[in-house]
Structure formats: structure tokens, C-alpha cells
């Protein structure tokens, strides 16, 4: 595997509080990788250590390629205009401004506004443009869609897919399961400073066991039944409906969402 990022036994504490308890990660070039975790799990600290923005206590971090970084909480001088910021950062990175990228991110449409006049979505797009200014090999996106509306999220997801199609390695920190499931090749779940799972979404589902959820809706309401024997449970449910003379309006069987699996992992590790 051609590794873009390799992290070995990364440890970080803030005073008495241990935030990262020796995490190991290996991210392949061209991969879209998600770092999942509830608030306070250590995602942002881990990312900032890898990005070189935060000192860590021990461990080894190897990053192979140019980095572009979109931070979780970002800001710019209140009165700066988007194109001025783009120009400034391009000059600092000795990079040419990619007008196609600016066009795609809609930066040209907001060029006359000052930073404080931009909406949350516009600010996110601008910070993504700044992260991409040096045509990075590895793009770090920390909670990129936090605070965005549905349209803003869809637009940003489109951009992330485009980056992936260009062969860039994308490292995404998020607690939005739908986003992670839709965009990422692999997932690492961080809980209390430890990686408690690392693999694909399918592997995550497998680790949860062969658990099924049967959602049924009848004339008297709906219910969800959890089972590991789908055939027998379905037959007995249908028999019960017939015996009670209830009309079946809808039935759906699934193996649980990524969110449910994630919460289960977090719950197990909190015990």
C-alpha cells in the first residue's frame, strides 16, 4: 500500500487529561478516510497533530505529500474579501490561483462581500478553496459540513467527490454518519482517545454481528423488532398480524445504520 499518512503510537495529553492514548493509523494514497467520534473523542487533536499544528507528547507521524487543511473552526479578518484572501494565501504558497476551482466553489459569486457578510456555507466554501490553493495531495477536512443547510451539504459533498476523483487523499473528521457512509472508503472510530474500530462501513456492520431490524407498519401503528434470526421472526410476526386481524401497511428489513453501529461501539467502550 502506498501510504499517504502513517501514525504510530500517537500520544497527547493536556495536563492530567489524556486525549490520545497511543493511536495507530495508516491511510493509503487516494483514499477517503473518516475519523469518527463523539464530541471530545480526540478527533480534532489527532488531526491537528498530524497537520503539524499541535505538539504531541510521543509517537511518530509520517505524512507523504503536500497538505491542504480546512479547520473545524476557521476565521479570517472581518473585512477581507474572498478573492483577496485567495490571492494572499496563493502568494504565500507560491501557487497560481486556480480560477476553475474558484468557479466551482462559487467564490466568484461572493467576491464583493467582506468575510463577515458571508453565510456559514459561503465561509466553508471559501476555507475549502484556501485549503486547495496549493493543489495538495492530502486534504484534511474537519467537520466540513457542520452548520450547513441541506443544499450546502450536498454541494460540499459534490466537491469532496470531485477531489476524490482527482486522486487526492481525503481525511475527514465528522460525527455525521450519513456523510461518512456516502463519501468514505474507510472509517476509524475514535473513543476516549483510542481507535476502537478501523475498517470499511461493511466491516463495521459485520463486527456488530448478524443483527437485523424489522420495521413494520400496521393499521394500529408501527414497531421495530431486533433479531438475529430473520426467517423465523418474520414468519411469527406475520402470523401474529393474521391472528389479530391487523392490516400490514409496510414492512422493511435492514441491518442497522452506520449511526446505530457507531453508537453501539461507543456504548460498548464506555462500559
Amino acid at each position: 500500500m502506498n501510504e499517504a499518512i502513517k501514525v504510530t503510537n500517537l500520544r497527547k495529553s493536556y495536563g492530567e487529561q489524556v486525549v490520545l492514548k497511543g493511536i495507530d493509523l495508516s491511510i493509503a494514497a487516494g483514499e477517503t478516510f473518516a475519523l469518527l467520534g463523539v464530541n471530545g473523542a480526540g478527533k480534532t487533536t489527532a488531526l491537528e497533530c498530524i497537520e503539524g499544528l499541535r505538539k504531541y507528547d510521543s509517537g511518530n507521524i509520517q505524512v507523504n505529500g503536500k497538505m491542504g487543511i480546512q479547520l473545524q473552526s476557521s476565521s479570517l479578518p472581518a473585512h477581507i474579501k474572498p478573492l483577496e484572501a485567495v490571492q494572499l494565501f496563493a502568494k504565500w504558497n507560491n501557487a497560481a490561483v486556480d480560477n476553475t476551482m474558484l468557479e466551482m466553489l462559487g467564490i466568484q459569486d461572493i467576491k464583493k462581500k467582506q468575510y463577515t457578510q458571508l453565510s456559514t456555507g459561503q465561509k466553508r466554501r471559501l476555507h475549502l478553496a484556501l485549503a486547495l490553493i496549493n493543489n495538495p495531495d492530502i486534504v484534511f477536512l474537519d467537520e466540513p459540513t457542520a452548520g450547513l443547510d441541506v443544499q450546502g451539504r450536498a454541494s460540499l459533498h459534490e466537491q469532496i467527490r470531485l477531489l476524490k476523483s482527482q486522486g487526492k487523499t481525503i481525511v475527514l473528521a465528522s460525527h455525521d454518519m450519513a456523510e461518512v457512509e456516502a463519501l468514505c472508503d474507510r472509517i476509524a472510530v475514535l473513543n476516549h482517545g483510542e481507535i476502537v474500530f478501523c475498517g470499511t462501513a461493511d466491516e463495521l456492520t459485520e463486527t456488530m454481528g448478524k443483527k437485523y431490524f424489522i420495521h413494520i407498519k400496521t393499521s394500529q401503528g408501527g414497531q421495530t423488532v431486533e433479531t438475529d434470526n430473520i426467517g423465523d421472526t418474520l414468519l411469527s410476526l406475520l402470523a401474529e398480524l393474521k391472528a389479530n386481524d391487523l392490516e400490514l401497511l409496510d414492512i422493511k428489513v435492514d441491518r442497522g445504520t452506520l449511526e446505530e453501529h457507531f453508537l453501539e461501539i461507543a456504548r460498548r467502550n464506555n462500559k
Binding site: 497537520e51 499544528l53 499541535r54 505538539k55 487543511i69 479547520l71 473552526s73 476557521s74 476565521s75 479570517l76 479578518p77 472581518a78 473585512h79 477581507i80 483577496e84 490571492q87 494572499l88 494565501f89 502568494k91 504565500w92 504558497n93 467582506q114 476555507h127 484556501l130 485549503a131 490553493i133 496549493n134
Partner: protein, 238 residues
């Protein structure tokens, strides 16, 4: 170099767009100059000899201690600093461009006073303008370097306002610009000498361009620059 110049020009533009900086760099000092210029020269005609220097000390103190540190704290006390770092911009860049931009704005404000005071109030124009401007540049740099340290140390805007006032008020009350410092009680006169305003005021006066008025400003400038350098370095992994 072009990157630095672009950054400096951009910072100058951003400062122009900021209403709070417009107020502290230009509006209040110039209104104060217009009001006090009229009052001072009417009730104390000999103030005409030092009106330019007095009003400049007031304007520089206001800009350097009440305006500039806030702009600096907005960058170094917020996520802007992190965005700069994450995107390859040197941390000292913001400090240097903001310092120079403030320097240019305050120089412009001072120049308005230098040229309007003789016209409006028959105030004495500085005799040797190059020497006067050299003295002003050193005094302004020393004041801004203190303002820089202030903006990097105190990141809370409310605390910064209070701390700024602690520098601004003694600067104008004890430096001798309102009344001769020699009339003050000894203790207040000594306290007044801690502030760059006391030395800058003397340094800019006719015949004041001398080493005994210069050394303290240079010490302040060097010490504050070292402190700022250390503070910026410390902020790298904060």
C-alpha cells in the same frame, strides 16, 4: 518580497475598511485636535509652540494603545491565527503588516496635524521637518511596539480595553502635553517617565532631537520587539 508587499497593501486596505480603526486612528484624534487646539491656544497662547507635538502624542497614544492592539488581538486571539498557520502563512506576517499599516495610518494622521495646526491655530510648525519626522517615526515605532506586546498578551477584548486605558490615560495626563510635567508631584512625574509619550513629546520638540530623549524610546522599542518575537513563537503550537 511581492508577497509581503501584497500583504502590507491588503492590511492597509483592511484597516481602512474597519470603522473602529478609522475612529481611533483618525476621527477621535483629529476632533480632539480641532477642539483642544482652539481651547489651548486661546487660554494659553504659548501652547502654540508645542501644539503640534501635544496633539501628535495624544493621537499616537490613542491609536497605538486603544486601536491597534484590538486589531492585533482579533488575529492572534482567534482562529485567524490557526488558519494562517494551516495555510502556510508565517505567524509573524500578521504582526509585521499590522504594525506597518498602523504606522502609515498614524503617520498620515500626524501629518494632517502638522500641516493644519499652523493654518488653523497659528501653531508653530516644526523647524526641521526631516528631523521632526525622524523623531516622530521613532516615537511612533516605540509606542506601536508596546501596543503590539499588549495585543499579543491580552486576548480578551474587554480586558484589552481596560489595559489600553491604563497606558493611554497616564500617557496623555503625565507626559506634559496638557500642562508642564514639572508642575506634577514628583511621584506622578516619575510615573509619567515610564511611558513613551513623555520621551516622544520631548524628542519631537525644537532642539529635542538628542540622545537623552532618544535612549529610552530605543530601549522600549528593542525590549517590546523581543517580547513580541517570543510571544509569536510561543503561539505556534498554542
Amino acid at each position: 518580497m511581492t508577497t509581503f508587499l501584497y500583504g502590507l497593501v491588503l492590511q492597509f486596505k483592511l484597516d481602512k475598511r474597519s470603522k473602529s480603526l478609522l475612529v481611533t486612528y483618525y476621527v477621535v484624534p483629529l476632533i480632539f485636535f480641532l477642539l483642544m487646539g482652539g481651547i489651548f491656544t486661546s487660554i494659553m497662547p504659548n501652547m502654540k509652540e508645542t501644539l503640534v507635538q501635544s496633539m501628535i502624542v495624544m493621537g499616537v497614544s490613542m491609536g497605538a494603545f486603544l486601536g491597534y492592539p484590538h486589531a492585533l488581538a482579533q488575529t492572534y486571539g482567534s482562529d485567524i491565527k490557526k488558519v494562517y498557520q494551516a495555510n502556510g502563512v508565517s505567524l509573524s506576517f500578521g504582526l509585521i503588516t499590522m504594525f506597518l499599516s498602523a504606522f502609515i495610518h498614524l503617520m498620515l494622521m500626524c501629518s494632517v496635524i502638522v500641516f493644519l495646526a499652523p493654518v488653523l491655530f497659528e501653531a508653530q510648525r516644526p523647524e526641521r521637518l526631516p528631523l521632526f519626522y525622524a523623531a516622530l517615526a521613532i516615537y511612533l515605532s516605540a509606542s506601536l511596539s508596546v501596543g503590539s506586546a499588549l495585543g499579543l498578551i491580552v486576548k480578551n477584548q474587554a480586558k484589552l480595553t481596560m489595559t489600553g486605558q491604563l497606558l493611554f490615560l497616564p500617557s496623555i495626563m503625565l507626559s506634559g502635553i496638557m500642562f508642564p510635567a514639572e508642575l506634577l508631584p514628583n511621584i506622578l512625574n516619575t510615573i509619567g517617565q515610564i511611558f513613551p509619550a513623555h520621551w516622544g513629546y520631548r524628542f519631537m520638540q525644537v532642539g529635542g532631537f538628542q540622545i537623552q530623549n532618544l535612549w529610552y524610546l530605543l530601549v522600549i522599542l528593542i525590549l517590546a520587539s523581543i517580547v513580541c518575537g517570543l510571544l509569536v513563537k510561543k503561539q505556534k503550537f498554542e
